[in-house]
Every structure is written in C-alpha cells, then in structure tokens.
C-alpha cells in the first residue's frame, strides 16, 4: 500500500464528486502528494545525518536533533495527506451501499439482467438525500483535519521559516552548543509551498461546502414551487413511470424490512413529496 494505492482507492470516488471536488483531488495528488514524493522527501532525506553540532560530545547531536525536531515535516505532511483524503471513503461506502440497494430493487422488479446491473455501477449518483449529508460530513472532516494539522505544524514549528542555527542546552551537551541544520532555505521554500497548497485546498473545500448548500436550497425551493417534479435516482424515475403505485405496494408487502426502508427513504419510487431537506 503506497501513494499509488491510495490514488486508486480515492479516484474511484471522483466520479460521484462535484466539479470542485475533482479539482480538489487533482490539487491534492499533483501539487501535494507528488511534490512530497519526488521533491520534499529528498530534501529532508539527510536531515539527521547532516545535522551538525559544534561539539565532539557523543550523544549531543542526537539529543539536540530530537529536541528541535520532535516529528519531521515530511512525516507530518504524509499523515496530513492520508487523513485528509480518507473522508472521501465515507462517500465511496455510501455510494456502494446505494448501488447495492438499487441492484436488489432491480432484481426484484424483474430488471435483473446484466445490462441493467452494469448500468447501476456506471451511472453517476446524484448528490441528494442521505448521500448529500454524507458528502457534507466528508467535506467538513477534510476541513477539520487540514486546520488541525496546520495548527499542529504552527505549534511544533512556530513560524514557517527553517532557521540555519539552533542553540541547544540539553544533556549531555556541555553548556550551550551551536547546531546547524541542513538545507534550511530549501526546506523553507518547500514548507511555504506545502502550506500554500494546503490553504488552496481549504479554500476549495469551503467553496464546495457553500456550493452544495446553495444547490440544495435551490432544489428545495424548486421542489416547493413544483412538487411533482424531481426524482432522486435513475431507476426511481424509470420504475415510477413504468409501474403503478399498487405494484410497488405489492412488492412492499412481500419483501423484507430493509427494502421497505429503502423505498420509504427513496421518495422518487413512492411518488410522495420529498420531506428530506437536502433533496
């Protein structure tokens, strides 16, 4: 499991994201993960071996390095990127669940041939209903993680500039010892770059949040003024036009509770007005 594996997993969610979500994903993978892997890791590669202290006291070098760098920038960024990309998996799981339910419904209503089942997999889920809430939660978690990590970064390394010299007094160093950091300017450049892209990602997430909320309110306003329109799933629409309500009721009385729940939750199939605020 490496960054390429994460890319495969997360890019599957891409299809069900908004346009801003896709831009966010590209920025994450190209300007953050890729820069981390091809550039930043080699800049910080010799951070300990080239950390030199003006003393011959054994152990002083290690102790001072550990005191000033409790966790390396590169590891902090790697953790940040992993935590920030994983909320998208919530959406992936919800989409997989919805697709499973749709397939079950198709089989029950006699459309269980491979062509229809394949189309369930391929069609893009509309971000409405419970999927909307899941999506919003994932965006909020992303924002939270980004903010938390930027704060942690600022707490551990106040100021984003990497200094050339640190003065260390930890035991066993005799008195105060000058220690020199390797490649401070290059590290500062990459730190600023990574923070800037982190800021851009935060802005994109906020924009996506605002877009989703505005879209949901607009849909609700449209639905309030025109209650007969709007279905929330592809097959919901097809089935409700092909089948009369009493046939679906027949299915409801015959089938198990989970399917009844799905039909109850999925207003498009029932042709009732939508009570969900986000549809």
């Amino acid at each position: 499991m490496n960054w390429a594996g994460l890319y495969t997993v997360v890019s599957g969610v891409n299809r069900h994201s908004t346009a801003i979500g896709r831009i966010w994903l590209s920025v994450i993978f190209i300007f953050r993960i890729m820069v981390l892997v091809v550039a930043a890791e080699s800049v910080w590669g010799d951070e300990k071996s080239a950390f030199t202290c003006n003393t011959q006291q054994p152990g002083c070098n290690s102790v001072c390095y550990d005191h000033f760098f409790p966790i390396s920038h590169v590891r902090l960024w790697a953790l940040q990127l992993i935590l920030v990309t994983t909320p998208a998996l919530l959406v992936a799981m919800h989409v997989a669940y919805q697709q499973h339910q749709e397939k079950k419904l198709l089989v029950l209503t006699g459309h269980g041939d491979t062509k229809h089942l394949e189309e369930v997999k391929k069609h893009k889920m509309r971000i409405s209903g419970s999927l909307w809430w899941t999506y919003i939660c994932s965006v909020i978690f992303r924002l939270l993680f980004e903010a938390v990590f930027m704060y942690i970064f600022y707490m551990i390394y106040p100021g984003y500039q990497m200094i050339r010299l640190v003065k260390c007094e930890a035991y066993p160093c005799p008195n105060t010892v000058d220690c020199f950091i390797s490649r401070p300017t290059e590290k500062t450049i990459f730190t600023v770059f990574m923070l800037a892209t982190s800021g851009i990602c935060i802005i994109l997430n906020m924009a996506e949040l605002v877009y989703l909320v505005v879209r949901a309110c607009a849909r609700r306003a449209q639905r309030d003024s025109n209650p007969t329109s709007g279905k929330s799933s592809l097959y919901g629409h097809k089935l409700s036009t092909e089948y009369k309500q009493n046939e679906i009721n027949q299915l409801l009385t015959e089938q198990d509770g989970s399917l009844k729940d799905m039909l109850r939750r999925n207003p498009g199939l029932q042709e009732k007005s939508d009570r969900c605020s986000a549809c």
Binding site: I30, S42, I181, P184, E186
Partner: protein
C-alpha cells in the same frame, strides 16, 4: 504518486491534442522526466555529502552549502515539470465535461442519436474548436509562462548555467573566507545545459503550437470561430 501516474493522467489528454502537442508530450516525458529520474538524480545525489569546505569548523559546510544552493537544481526541475504539465489537465477537465454533457443528452434520448452506445462517447475524439479552442490555447499559454518563469528563476539563482568548481564562503560560523568545493561540477554543468536546451525546445514547440492554432482559426471563416 510518481512520474508514472502523472504520465498516465497526461496520456489521456494526448488523444485531443494537436500533432505538435503530442510531440511536446513525448519530449517532456522522454527527454526531461526520464533523464531527471535515471540520470540527473544520481549526479546530484551526493551534492551535500561531497560538498567539502577547507575548514574543520562545524557547521560551516552546512551554512555555505545553504548559501550557495538555496534550492537544488533537481527540485527546481521537478517543480518545473509538474507545473508545466498541469495546464494540460484544464483540457482534460473540459473534455470530460463535454463528454458528460453528451452522455446526459444520450440518456435523455436526444434528437441527435448519432452514438449507438455510451462507450462510443467515451472513445470519441473532440476537435479543437469553440470553447475547447480557448481552453487549449490558455493551457499552452500557461505552459509557456511557467517554462519562462522557471528558466528565469534558474538563471537568477545560479548566475548563469555553469556550475563552478570552487565557491568562496564567509558566512558565520566560517572563520574569515573559506574555500568550498562542489562535487561533480562538469557533469552537473553538462546536465544543466542539456535540461535547459530541452526546455528551450519545448518552449519553441509550444510557440509553434500556439501559432498553428491561431492560424487554423483565422483561416476558417470568422463566423465559425465563436461556436
């Protein structure tokens, strides 16, 4: 996430590029990314370890290295290649958007049912016309800007493209002035000149593609330009 994944992403844009664009992409990946990965990274691999200063003063080497090499050539090239390849994603996004619109139309059973299958929409090649022309031209424009910016940054930081053998350093804590010796200066100069030359060729190709697109549009009747 590495150069291979970037190549896979950009390879998808290739289908909708002009011939010059395809040549540009090939040069990018073979003469720049590949050379960077298989050769240049090894040449610069020991740049700090083998940067030797004529002093025993601890810390002097680190400080002098940092003073003369604020950012390594390798990292600058890696950033340049990433920034120069990403405008092509604008084109990829626009093409994906158009495909999405066509699929929506196809599903609704639109009057122009020229596609038998949704799969055909996926493999269809879009001609560079109308809004796609503007997106494509903007992407070339951004590529040119990034290339030029990075070449200027390079020249500005390293005062020319030659790697000196010896640098004289007097940053604290070095006592007075100290001689520091750069590792593999000739080999580094050779690769620097090579990468700059290929960068220049890429700039020329981008300019040629830009002119080609402009000429293509002005040769057609003006009324078609805006659709």
């Amino acid at each position: 996430m590495d150069w291979g994944t970037l190549q896979a992403i950009l390879g998808g844009v290739n289908k909708h590029s002009t011939s010059i664009g395809k040549i540009w992409l090939t040069i990018m990946f073979i003469f720049r990314v590949m050379i960077l990965v298989v050769a240049a990274e090894e040449v610069w691999g020991d740049e700090q370890n083998d940067f030797v200063c004529n002093t025993l003063q601890p810390g002097c080497k680190n400080v002098c290295y940092d003073h003369f090499f604020p950012i390594s050539h390798i990292r600058l090239w890696a950033l340049q290649l990433i920034f120069v390849s990403t405008p092509a994603l604008l084109v990829a996004m626009h093409v994906a958007y158009r495909r999405h619109e066509k699929k929506k139309q196809f599903r609704k059973g639109g009057q122009t049912c020229e596609f038998k299958d949704i799969e055909e929409i996926k493999s269809q090649r879009f001609h560079i016309q109308g809004p796609l022309w503007w997106t494509y031209t903007s992407s070339i424009f951004f590529r040119l800007i990034f290339e030029a910016l990075f070449m200027y940054a390079f020249y500005f930081m390293y005062n020319g493209f030659r790697m000196p053998r010896l640098v004289k350093c007097n940053a604290w804590p070095c006592p007075n002035t100290v001689d520091c010796f750069v590792s593999r200066p000739t080999e580094k100069t050779v690769f620097t000149i090579f990468m700059i030359a290929v960068s220049g060729i890429c700039i020329l190709l981008n300019v040629a593609e830009f002119c080609y697109l402009l000429i293509k549009v002005f040769l057609k009747k003006p009324v078609f330009f805006f659709f």
